[in-house]
């Protein structure tokens, strides 16, 4: 019952609005309420039957007693009447006397009142009202000889409230003068009292029984629900990683069976998880061993290649070219190895974020400076569009730099020597960098695929930079590690834009990127911004794009 109070009290108004929710919110509540309802109905029915039978029994007994009493009194009166000398006295007087006698007898027992229908007027016990005798009985008695009984209400002349009673009617036969009706009125006061006592007893017992049953139901519900609840809590703890938690098993009933099954499930889960963890550990160790084992010979090869490369002028032309190829390919091999190891580190969940308060703009500037030579070689102008507000964030500078490097080299590689814009912007809780190229672009449907490992937009297209094919996949993982986003936008012929958004604080949530996902130069000034990537397209866009390439010069 405490559970009920606990559950109903908080948000009580809201819960009232949805009674079904309250109803389904607690099993004990349902059990208790059902028990309460059912036992109340049973108790009402039982009480009703009990009262009816008791009333019947008591009334029947009283009726018989009344009849017997009346018969005796009638007989006595009849005999007195017959013995009376009717000649010497008035019938009325005799009847009055008789009536008084009978009344006295009745009064002495306190059992009945008497009404005698005399020849002239009614003679009756003091206080009792003659109207207490129902007309029906009067007419019955007037019609024939005999004794009748009927329930009635006994009225009083002194103003006390009427009481229910029994009226017994009979007649006295006075020799020669005729029949006189005599009525005995038996008040049922004591019977009513008895019945009231019985009723009170029934109600009290019923109420107590209902309450007791409810309490029993609560107890039983608790006995059933508590283990279930414990099981639920344990399951919750298991789910949140406390794999050592187990349920207590008591006895051998269904609940114990449930506990045993749950414990079995938990230990199986634990075994599986530990196996997976072990696998992950093995994987990590393997990765780190591969790393070490491959790196040492690679270092030797690299240094040897460098020595050969340095000396290439003294070599035969073929050997010299071979030395050159060896030198460059070792670099590529190293990059590939590094990226593979990095990816497997992410896969093993071994990547660790080392954040520090960093100015993202500074990282961008540094990376652009580092890429400047490469960009100039390919004839690609790089432009940074500076932010309107400071762009410091708690990030891992090594990883952010790596993302930037990947995005910028990627843009240069696919940018068709056209200008590349690098936007930096921040808002309340996030910092974003967007790298926009005007190169070959890609289909809208490929925006996800570009992050796939070793994916190529056009397999026939030769690589000019010799990227590993893992750059964007690693960048995506790096962004995720920051709980940030990395979005790709592209259209064939319109170029592409990659947008990185990271929260300003570690573990923060990015709600909105400070930069749009669709390149800004595709949004006409004065026109509403396009509703989505699909709103951009068609022949008009090309013209718009040219216009905007010009206007985008302004902020530079």
């Amino acid at each position: 019952m405490a559970t009920l109070a606990e559950r109903v009290h908080p948000g009580w108004e809201r819960l009232l609005r949805t009674p079904s929710r309250v109803w389904w919110s607690s099993l004990p509540l349902r059990v208790i309420a059902s028990t309460l309802g059912a036992s109340t109905v049973v108790m009402l029915l039982g009480g009703f039957l009990l009262m009816q039978q008791a009333t019947d029994g008591i009334l029947r007994a009283k009726q018989q007693a009344a009849l017997a009493e009346a018969a005796v009194a009638l007989d006595t009166a009849q005999r007195s009447l017959q013995a009376a000398d009717l000649a010497s006295s008035n019938v009325n007087e005799v009847l009055t006397r008789l009536a008084v006698e009978v009344v006295n007898r009745g009064a002495s027992g306190g059992q009945y009142e008497v009404v005698v229908q005399g020849p002239v007027s009614d003679i009756q016990s003091p206080r009792v009202s003659a109207t207490s005798v129902p007309e029906m009985l009067r007419s019955r008695v007037a019609e024939a000889e005999g004794t009748w009984v009927t329930p009635t209400e006994i009225g009083w002349t002194d103003g006390t409230p009427p009481v229910p009673g029994l009226a017994v009617g009979g007649s006295l036969v006075a020799p020669g003068t005729g029949r006189y009706a005599i009525y005995f009125l038996f008040p049922l006061t004591s019977e009513m009292e008895t019945l009231q006592v019985v009723q009170r007893a029934v109600v009290t017992t019923g109420t107590l029984l209902v309450l007791a049953l409810t309490a029993v139901a609560a107890l039983v519900a608790r006995q059933v629900v508590d283990p279930v609840r414990e099981a639920r809590l344990t399951a919750g703890r298991l789910a949140s990683g406390h794999l050592d938690d187990r349920l207590r098993v008591r006895g051998s009933d269904d609940l114990a069976g449930l506990a045993t099954s749950m414990n079995f499930m938990a230990s199986e889960l634990q075994k599986q998880i530990e196996q997976l963890e072990e696998l992950s550990r093995v994987q990590q160790r393997f990765v780190s061993d591969v790393s070490h084992e491959l790196r040492t010979p690679l270092t030797t090869v690299r240094m040897a290649a460098e020595v050969l490369h340095e000396a290439r002028e003294d070599l035969e032309p073929l050997a010299a070219r071979s030395a050159e190829l060896l030198y460059h390919e070792v670099d590529r091999f190293e990059g590939l190895l590094g990226d593979l190891l990095e990816i497997s580190r992410f896969d093993a969940g071994a990547a660790v974020l080392q954040t520090e308060e960093t100015d993202v703009l500074e990282l961008v500037e540094r990376e652009v400076a580092a890429q400047r030579a490469f960009a100039e070689r390919s004839g690609t102008p790089l432009t940074i569009i500076r932010p309107t507000r400071p762009c410091t964030a708690e990030v891992d500078p090594r990883r952010i730099t790596r993302i930037l490097r990947n995005l910028i080299t990627n843009a240069i590689e696919h940018g068709e020597h056209r200008p590349i814009d690098i936007w930096v912007e921040g808002n309340e809780d996030a910092v974003a960098v967007a790298v926009r190229d005007h190169g070959i672009g890609f289909e809208a449907a490929q925006a996800k695929q570009v992050f796939h490992r070793f994916w190529r937009a056009d397999p026939a297209r030769a690589r000019t930079v010799g990227g590993t094919g893992l750059g964007l996949a690693i960048s995506l993982e790096d962004a995720r590690l920051h709980s940030g986003w990395l979005n790709a936008w592209g259209r064939p012929g319109l170029g592409a834009q990659f947008r990185l958004t990271v929260p300003r604080v570690r573990g923060g949530v990015v709600r909105m990127s400070p930069l749009p996902a669709i390149p800004r130069d595709l949004t006409l000034p004065g026109l509403p911004p396009p509703g989505g990537p699909r709103a951009v397209g068609g022949a008009g866009v090309r013209a718009v794009q040219h216009q905007l390439t010009a206007s985008a010069e302004e902020p530079r």
Partner: protein, 245 residues
Amino acid sequence: MSDAGRVSETGRGSDPERTGQRMRVLVVDDDAALAEMLQIVLRQEGFEPIWVGQGDAALAAFREHQPDLVLLDVMLPGRDGVDVCRDIRAESGVPVVMLTARSDTIDVVAGLEAGADDYVAKPFKAKELVARIRTRLRRRPQAEDADVLQIGDLTISVEGHSVRRDGSEIALTPLEFDLLLALAKNPRRVFSREVLLEQVWGYRHAADTRLVNVHVQRLRSKVERDPERPEIVVTVRGIGYKAGG
């Protein structure tokens, strides 16, 4: 360091004596091919390499040959590279450059905390390695103006490569001395870790800032009265370090 007294002696004394002579580099690596390649490159660059393939033989070779610099692999048979580094530091301040295969693991920090001055991650370029070695062997051109600098209650003699507090000398490795000197030369300037990496370690691009953090801790443990509350090398939150006092 307990044997700090000897540290400064060896670390400083060996340098000028060998001018005109080939610098000796002790290569401790178990990979024969890499060791040979390293020796080829080092010889080409004008050094005199000595090779030891076992971790447990490294200290004996170090004592015997008195090298000017030690190239130390982390994974070694016999004795772990980090332990070898600690052994060498216990008796000398000679520059130690670790060769690590796993730049992102605790190996690096363990090596630096054991006293290594710098590390090079495999696979490195020969030029990169040689640049690192030269930086560690290069003696900084002396400051023209001041020979004696003051930082807090420390007196730094630039010429004599010594640091004194109340007349008694505090033994520092050459790297720690360079680090302290860099801060002391510009007492009002706040140095970012990147700037220190460039000035003290000779890195042109941003490198591992753990180098700075670990060596600042090591330096503090020697020069601060209470390393928990530094007064000589003060942290400027979010920026870097500056000279205190």
